[in-house]
């Protein structure tokens, strides 16, 4: 019947097919250059994913309490808790918290919009992780600065296995 691994766990941007490669080869293009191009198309580096959400700014490290288990038995449901030490006043508050899982098929996982009404910058949620990877948190503050934290997670059962 079907493979237990879902096709959806492949990256949405697919590698060039064998036919495309052959066509490129016969057209005289440098085949050696293609694997590199294919790899960069299928896996965006974490630094670039972060730069996209911060609109190019480099976030400062620290200031974020990022609570996530280092060893995850079931990637289908991973508890995370994120806290930022912020007075949460009109002048100084956390605008949003963004979670990135670089090796998920869709690396942008979640965004939490907060406001001074939140009182405290502390949230928790349940994620899905496709594989062992680095998970990053980016927080945007009202003064325009960004903070980040990351953690290396080992996932023993991927969220890409059906039936979980």
């Amino acid at each position: 019947m079907s493979s237990p691994i879902s096709r959806a766990c492949a990256r949405p941007e697919r590698e060039p097919s064998r036919r495309q490669l052959l066509a490129a080869g016969s057209a005289g293009l440098a085949l050696a250059a293609l694997p590199d191009a294919a790899r960069s198309a299928t896996q965006t580096p974490l630094a670039e994913l972060i730069a996209r959400v911060t609109e190019g700014a480099t976030p400062m490290r620290g200031g974020i309490v990022f609570d996530i288990p280092q060893l995850v038995e079931n990637g289908n449901s991973v508890d995370v808790a994120i806290g930022i030490d912020s007075p949460m006043t009109e002048a100084d508050h956390v605008r949003w918290i963004h979670v990135i899982a670089e090796k998920n098929p869709y690396p942008n996982v979640a965004r939490f919009h907060l406001s001074p009404r939140s009182g405290r910058a502390r949230i928790s949620a349940t994620l899905r992780l496709a594989t062992s990877q680095k998970v990053a948190v980016v927080a945007a503050l009202s003064n325009g600065s960004y903070f980040m934290a990351d953690a290396d997670i080992v996932v023993t059962l991927s969220a890409c296995i059906d039936g979980g």
Partner: protein, 108 residues
């Protein structure tokens, strides 16, 4: 989904200025798309993509969800108790369906 099931856990009353924690658990498969069901068909993507919370008419929290959020998503957040009023939780599902739940916070 007629049987939309959400469990909202929060105090029924709070003192003015107090920070209350609100915990929300929803029953939803969060189909990320591409799984194969028992009949061998591909399941299309269907997730709750947004939860917005308003408190006495003012937005206080928004949670943008993508396929990387687990089935039966849980979220907790905080808000400052300012006045007696309704917290309205509104989920938006792929395809445009909207589900709403209300919880009342009495401020003493």
């Amino acid at each position: 989904m007629a049987n939309f099931n959400a469990r909202i856990t929060m105090p029924a009353e709070a003192k003015a200025g107090e920070i209350v924690e609100i915990r929300v658990l929803v029953r939803h498969p969060m189909d990320r798309g591409g799984q194969v069901d028992a009949e061998g068909r591909i399941v299309p993507r269907k997730i709750l993509n947004r939860l917005t919370v308003t408190y006495a008419g003012e937005p206080v929290f928004r949670f943008d969800m993508h396929t990387g959020i687990s089935a039966n998503p849980f979220v907790s957040f905080t808000t400052r108790a300012v006045e007696t009023g309704d917290l309205v939780f509104e989920w938006r599902e792929d395809g445009g369906a909207v589900f709403t739940r209300t919880a009342r916070l009495v401020v003493t």
